[in-house]
Every structure is written in structure tokens, then in C-alpha cells.
């Protein structure tokens, strides 16, 4: 285990006027991990990702990525450093083709690829995310499942050191979820550290190395799935939320 974690977050808080969306959150992610983030609706998970990747500026706190502080830095700088995110509600460039969408990530992300080099890389990523046959299609005509994969493909094209996946399994059927879990593992196996927010708790438990649980903007628990599942505070946090399937050993 390397001495310095890839990502370390300390006392992260974000306030919107009267609402404290994040309250003193802290955790660490090691290189090569799949790090899950779960919590009831409104727990602040997406806000956390937004702060990590520069879409939002934290009110307080420190975020260290690859040894350097990135809190408050704008998105393009964070992406250049190797940390990228997908959006919970997909944001494709509808008037561009799938290939062109991915090329934006390839050209302007950390990889900064050009020319035929970029094209090769784009094609690779499209194959890996199952969009190979749809390369020349306009993004505006894709199905929701394909759009979710496009989000991931675009982010991967930036050649990140770590990727933040925001509810990529939302709206997928069980077969598709299994496929998504496989894709996530393959991303990690290719050397990219994964942080993932997910509502499908059983899927997260099945694929994550460690998990962070948030509720009301605060950290409730952090640890391996086995421990999280039996943590009384975590169970209490979820008892009131009907949208989440009951935690258990069955996946």
C-alpha cells in the first residue's frame, strides 16, 4: 500500500445560503481502488463530486489529489491533473456525433491527444464501452443506456488517473447492471482508480473495495462492504428511505 493516498479529502464543507450540503466530510482513496459512495437522497453525494472536480468551490476544506491541493480549482485544471467526472443527468453534446463527443475528452483532457493518435484512442474507448457501432451517429438520437455509456466514454477519453462515476447504473435493468459492473472493473483493471456514487446498493457492495456512507452531508461510515452493511448507523440512515433495497448479503 503506497504511503500517500491518491485522493485525500479533509473537512470538506459546502454551504448554499442556508443549506449546508456537505459538513466536514473526510475520507481517503488509494490508487487502484474502486471506492463506492452511498447514502439516501439528498445526502450530498453529487455535491461532493462537484467539489472534487471543480464544478463547485468548497466553502471549507482541503482536497488533495496526487499530492497537490485541488480544492477551488476550476474543472479544466482538475481534469488536466487527472481527475474527471460523469454527470448523473447525462449531458451529451447532442449536435455532435458520438465520436466527436468522445474526441472532446481525448483532445482536451489530461491526455491531450491529437491527430491519428487521438482517433485510435477514441476508437479503443468506443469499443470498450460498447459504442463502436454508433460512432458516427448524432448523440441526440442515442438511447438512455447508450448516453450513459457515452458519458463514461467521454470521461475515459481524458485519460484520467481517477474517474468519478455518478449513478451510471440509474435506470438500467438487471442485465445491464451486471454489464456496468463489469465495465467498472475493467476500468480499474486498466489502471484508473474509480469513485462511484450509486443508488443500487447491492451493486456497489458487490464491486467496491471500500465504501463511504453519507447522510445529510455528513460522513456516517467508511470501510469495507462487509463492515458497512452491519454498521447500525448506516442501517438507521437507510431505514427511512424506501427507494433503497434492504441491505443484506444477497446481491
Amino acid at each position: 500500500m503506497p504511503a500517500e493516498p491518491l485522493l485525500s479529502v479533509r473537512d470538506l464543507s459546502k454551504r448554499f445560503g442556508g443549506l449546508l450540503a456537505l459538513d466536514g466530510v473526510h475520507f481517503e482513496v488509494a490508487r487502484g481502488e474502486i471506492f463506492g459512495i452511498i447514502g439516501p437522497n439528498g445526502a450530498g453525494k453529487t455535491t461532493l463530486f462537484a467539489c472534487l472536480t471543480g464544478s463547485l468551490s468548497p466553502t471549507r476544506g482541503e482536497i488533495r489529489f496526487r499530492g497537490k491541493r485541488i480544492d477551488g480549482h476550476p474543472s479544466p485544471a482538475v481534469v488536466a491533473r487527472g481527475l474527471v467526472r460523469t454527470h448523473q443527468i447525462v449531458r451529451p453534446f447532442r449536435e455532435m456525433t458520438v465520436e466527436e463527443n468522445v474526441s472532446v475528452g481525448a483532445h482536451f483532457g489530461a491526455g491531450r491527444r491529437r491527430g491519428t493518435d487521438a482517433l485510435r484512442r477514441i476508437r479503443e474507448i468506443l469499443e470498450r464501452t460498447g459504442l463502436g457501432g454508433r460512432a458516427k451517429v448524432l448523440a441526440g438520437t442515442l438511447t438512455i443506456g447508450e448516453l450513459k455509456r457515452l458519458e463514461i466514454a467521454r470521461a475515459l477519453a481524458t485519460e484520467p488517473t481517477a474517474i468519478c462515476l455518478d449513478e451510471v447504473m440509474g435506470g438500467l435493468n438487471p442485465a445491464e447492471i451486471v454489464g456496468a459492473m463489469g465495465l467498472i472493473r475493467s476500468i480499474r483493471d486498466a489502471g484508473v482508480t474509480v469513485l462511484m456514487i450509486e443508488h443500487h446498493v447491492h451493486a456497489v457492495l458487490g464491486v467496491s473495495d471500500r465504501i463511504l456512507v453519507l447522510n445529510f452531508g455528513q460522513r456516517i461510515a467508511e470501510g469495507v462492504p462487509r463492515v458497512i452493511v452491519s454498521d447500525p448507523e448506516v442501517i438507521a440512515a437507510y431505514l427511512g428511505d424506501d427507494s433503497v433495497p434492504v441491505l443484506g448479503e444477497d446481491a
Partner: protein
């Protein structure tokens, strides 16, 4: 010291007019999220209508406001039916389409004015136009005083309207939170029509008042439109008070410049605008929450 008093008095007087001008723009934006560039053309039209009432019927321009107000309200409702309705109402913010569309209307209004009234410079000269009065030791033109009175009256009337009538409250509700207002049963179409009517009415009133202070041509209105925009950015548009504050700030800035520096008048507009422009940039998070809708950065999905 007299300089300061002069600045304050003149600013206060100008602020009333500016607020009337700005409010017309604010209400349409607040309710429909449309930036109505035709506002400039409507103010210009207001000036010309006042001129016609004065020339043809001998109606004193300030008395004429009583006619102009309701007339322009009707005009606004008509405009809404013909043009405003078909605009895509994006709640994510004002659209370029609405901007360019209202811009087109402005151009058409200008051309109309050229045809009807010719491009000659016009002005309204009444018995009191050149008279002045001393206030706190400062010489103030009678028209300016009357304009302040008229605008104060209209704004008070507006305030009462907004606070007591159903339509007024509905307008305030939609401006603050469109979705919630619509969910509680507010008729979007009627509110929009009313807002357009009010906005146009205030443009007409402002134009009528401006006609007593300045000479005008069909091209008139652009610099005032810009001032109205600056005011909205400074003071927000959710309340009459906000607009009034913004108007005062702009007026003080302009009068201060005129009195304390030797900037020639033709330059003044350019300078005020530039100053405000840079203020916008220096304090993007500064003035009332509205700024977050104007400036990029920290967008929350």
C-alpha cells in the same frame, strides 16, 4: 459642499426616471425570462406619442402620461399575443432567440417612427421647459422636478398594484419561483400578458418623461436601454425597491462624474458604462443574489 448637494439632488431626481425605465425591462424579464430589447423602441415610441398628443391636441406632456400609460399597456398585451407568446420559454434562463426577436421588433419600431414622424430631431417645449427652481441651493429644471414626481407616483402606484391585487401578487410569485407559482394555479398566459403590458406601459411612461427632458430621434433609446440594463444588474429585479436602489447608484455615479471630473458630456455615457462593466467583473458575487444568474462559475446541476 454645494457640489455634493448638487450631485445628491440631481441624482435623486434622475433616479426616479431611471427606475421607471428599468422597471419596464425588469418585469418582463422577471416573469417571462425575456430580455426585451424592444424596450428601447417602446420608450422611443412613448416619446413620439407624447409629442403627437402635445402637437396635435395641445395636451401637456405630463397630463399626456395618463393617456400614454394605459395605451401602452394595451399595446403590450397585443405585442404579447402576436410575438411574445411564441417564444420558447426556457427556465434555464433567457434565450438568444428572445433577445434577437425583441431586437427585431425594436428595429421595426424604429423604421415605423422614421416613416410616421421623419428622422428630424424633435423636442417638446412647454411654458415651463426652461424654467428652474432652487432646491437646497441647487438650481433644478422644472421638467426634471415634474418627471421625478410623475415617476414617483407611477412607482408607488405600481407597488400598490403588486402588493394588493391578485395579478400583482402572482407576478411577484412567478418572478421569485416560477414552478411553484404555476403549480399553485397561476395562469401563465394571463400573467405573461399582464407583465408584458406593464413593461410596455412603463416603457411608454418613461419615454413620455424623457421627451420633456431631451430632444429625440427614432434612434433614441439605446443608451437608456443600456442604463436600464445596468440598473437591473446592480439592483436586481425582484422588487421595486431593488430597481430604485440600482437607479440611484447609477444616477449618483453619473452625476458624480459630471461634477467631479472634467469628462466631456459626450463621453459620459461611455465612461459610466465602462465603469459599471468593470464593476460587474470585479464583484461578480457582490450585489444581490441575481448575480449568480448572470455570471458563469460554480453552476450546480
Amino acid at each position: 459642499m454645494t457640489d455634493l448637494v448638487s450631485v445628491l439632488v440631481n441624482s435623486l431626481l434622475a433616479a426616479g426616471l431611471y427606475a421607471t425605465m428599468a422597471y419596464g425591462l425588469a418585469v418582463i424579464y422577471g416573469v417571462m425570462r425575456i430580455i426585451n430589447l424592444a424596450h428601447a423602441g417602446l420608450m422611443m415610441l412613448g416619446a413620439y406619442v407624447t409629442l403627437t398628443l402635445f402637437d396635435r391636441f395641445g395636451l401637456d406632456p405630463f397630463v399626456g402620461l395618463v393617456v400614454t400609460g394605459p395605451l401602452f399597456f394595451l399595446l403590450g398585451v397585443v405585442l404579447h399575443r402576436v410575438v411574445g407568446r411564441r417564444l420558447p420559454r426556457s427556465d434555464a434562463g433567457p434565450s438568444m432567440e428572445s433577445l434577437l426577436l425583441t431586437f427585431g421588433v425594436w428595429l421595426v419600431l424604429q423604421n415605423l417612427a422614421y416613416y410616421v414622424w421623419s428622422g428630424d430631431t424633435q423636442s417638446i417645449l412647454t411654458g415651463y421647459t426652461l424654467k428652474s427652481v432652487a432646491i437646497l441651493g441647487v438650481r433644478v429644471g422644472v421638467p426634471s422636478l415634474l418627471v421625478f414626481g410623475a415617476s414617483a407616483l407611477s412607482l408607488v402606484f405600481l407597488n400598490v398594484l403588486l402588493r394588493t391585487t391578485y395579478l400583482g401578487k402572482a407576478i411577484r410569485a412567478v418572478t421569485q419561483n416560477r414552478d411553484a407559482a404555476l403549480l399553485s394555479g397561476v395562469d401563465a398566459d394571463r400573467i405573461s400578458a399582464t407583465a408584458f403590458g406593464l413593461g410596455t406601459a412603463f416603457a411608454g411612461l418613461a419615454g413620455g418623461m424623457l421627451s420633456t427632458l431631451y430632444a429625440f430621434t427614432p434612434d433614441f433609446g439605446r443608451s437608456f436601454l443600456l442604463k436600464a440594463f445596468c440598473i437591473i444588474v446592480l439592483g436586481g429585479m425582484e422588487s421595486v425597491t431593488g430597481v430604485a436602489v440600482g437607479a440611484l447608484v447609477l444616477a449618483v455615479l453619473e452625476n458624480g462624474l459630471a461634477v467631479y471630473t472634467s469628462v466631456p458630456t459626450s463621453f459620459q455615457d461611455a465612461v459610466s458604462f465602462t465603469l459599471l462593466f468593470f464593476a460587474l467583473v470585479a464583484f461578480p458575487q457582490g450585489l444581490p443574489g441575481l448575480f449568480s444568474r448572470f455570471v458563469r462559475r460554480g453552476a450546480l446541476h
